[in-house]
């Protein structure tokens, strides 16, 4: 396993774990705070894709701006306890089932790609520098970084 793959799995674990806290925590403030590691994990994935500018903007606007806005609104409108508003309703199991199905679909798609012949080129491109360079052009909209 390369360092890049290890970094990706660590970042994915951080993002998913804090994402689960966001949706399951009974306390509104905890949910808002747990959003920060989730957003920072996504930032790490952007950096792995060589999209540094997007990563900087993500931290500046989402982690440093939107989260503060959410916390501010909770503290001003809700009395500051974070506990008065009910966090879940009876649709929880259905939503969980849909989320699990979508996750299974993604995993199946990503795993199925690997075996087929016509995706082989994509896979090779994905593992090498070509993919990073391409992502970097798309994210920055510049020709200069395409080699």
């Amino acid at each position: 396993m390369t360092g890049e793959a290890i970094a990706f799995y660590v970042l994915a674990a951080i993002t998913l774990a804090s994402g689960i806290v966001v949706v399951t925590s009974p306390n509104l403030v905890h949910s808002a705070v747990a959003l920060i590691p989730a957003l920072l994990g996504v930032t790490g994935v952007y950096i792995l894709l060589n999209a540094e500018f997007l990563a900087g903007i993500q931290v500046l606007i989402y982690a440093g701006g939107i989260t503060v806005l959410i916390l501010f609104v909770i503290m001003l409108t809700e009395g500051g306890t974070g506990l008065r508003v009910r966090q879940r309703n009876e649709q929880g199991p259905i939503a969980a089932a849909v989320a699990a199905a979508v996750a299974a679909l993604f995993v199946a798609l990503a795993g199925g790609r690997r075996g087929r012949g016509r995706f082989r080129r994509t896979r090779r491109a994905r593992s090498g520098r070509v993919f990073s360079a391409r992502t970097c052009c798309c994210s920055r909209g510049r020709r200069s970084c395409c080699s």
């Binding site: 290890i6 705070v33 500018f53 500046l60 440093g64 503060v68 916390l71 503290m75």
Partner: protein, 329 residues
């Protein structure tokens, strides 16, 4: 970067973290607190600390050792997780700023931890995380003064981030790059303070507000809010908040040196010495302002940002953009 194995990168990151942490803790927090006390004493016709060490030089070291031994007190009904994690976020966000600050130059290249090509944006992004820590500390303490301090800080820091961002855009436009090293290199002949005096004043004002220092220190207005968001913190946790505050102040001063005062450039002396001279000159200005001006009211504070600083900064940006794109091309 592509040729270095990842474990070397990781090792470099760990070593860099240790160097930045100890450097900031000693240079910024310990020396900063001592300077603050000495300068405030000088301005108020007092002597300041004199007893520990020669001329009181070791006073902050003694204070730190004392704080290390103190008990951790968590208030009743406080949110323990948020209360404890806020302590980590504030100094961490302040220390992350130093990754892109170029402190000098050598034969092999500039002395900087990592010359990111989004340097200035990275600085803005990491310093914007401090407000999250402050809000968490204020809310997690279960104390009305701390909560008020945290809310004031959120309003204040979010408002003053905008003029800082506009100034950063102006300077990057002028330099043609977001990298701090390129910005310093562009100032070899003419410092940006000469071509952008308005930007410099806006940046200095907004930076004072951003680091919550007088006359914008409503966050910890001691006559109204005890100590603001860190009222309930004791021992080393309190010391870490102080480290975060002074670290952020030094980071803002270092960024001002990088953007406007030509970074490490200067005749005769080594580049690091020039950088430190300029840094401490700006720190002195911050302290001078703190002990000279009285505190604003919160409505004056927010009005000043939204009605004065932001329009002026926008106008300045438009004029600079006009000159960069139309006149000089």
């Amino acid at each position: 970067m592509g040729v270095t194995p990842w474990y070397l990168e990781a090792l470099r990151a760990v070593v860099g973290t240790i160097i930045i942490f100890s450097g900031v803790a000693v240079v910024a927090a310990m020396l900063g607190v001592l300077l603050e006390r000495k300068i405030s004493g000088w301005i108020q016709s007092r002597i300041g600390p004199t007893h520990v060490g020669p001329r009181g030089l070791l006073q902050t070291v003694a204070d730190t050792i004392k704080l290390l031994q103190k008990e951790y007190i968590v208030p009743q009904n406080a949110d323990a997780v948020i209360f404890a994690s806020a302590v980590v976020i504030v100094p961490l966000a302040a220390l992350l700023d130093y990754v892109v600050v170029p402190v000098g130059t050598t034969r092999w290249g500039p002395l900087i931890f990592r010359d990111l090509n989004i340097g200035v944006l990275y600085f803005a992004a990491t310093s914007s995380l401090i407000v999250v820590g402050i809000l968490m500390a204020g809310w997690g303490s279960n104390n009305k003064y701390a909560l008020l301090g945290g809310l004031r800080s959120a309003a204040q820091m979010v408002s003053y981030e905008i003029p800082i961002g506009l100034v950063l855009i102006t300077i990057s436009l002028l330099a043609g790059s977001l990298s701090t090293v390129t910005i310093v290199n562009m100032q070899t002949h003419l410092w940006f303070i000469v071509s952008q005096p308005v930007s410099f004043l806006i940046f200095l004002t907004a930076a004072t507000a951003e680091v919550n220092r007088a006359p914008f220190d409503l966050v910890e207005a001691e006559s109204e809010l005890v100590a603001g968001y860190f009222s309930e913190y004791t021992g080393m946790r309190f010391a870490l908040f102080q480290l975060g505050e002074y670290g952020e102040m030094f980071a803002m001063a270092a960024l001002a040196v990088t953007l406007f005062l030509g970074g490490w450039h200067g005749p005769g002396l080594p580049s690091v010495v020039w950088f430190l001279i300029k840094l401490y000159a700006l720190i002195f200005v911050f302290m001078w302002v703190r002990w000279t001006y009285p505190r604003f009211r919160i409505d004056q504070l927010l009005g000043f940002s939204w009605k004065v600083l932001i329009p002026v900064a926008l106008l300045n940006l438009v004029v600079t953009a006009y000159f960069v794109t139309v006149v000089h091309r």
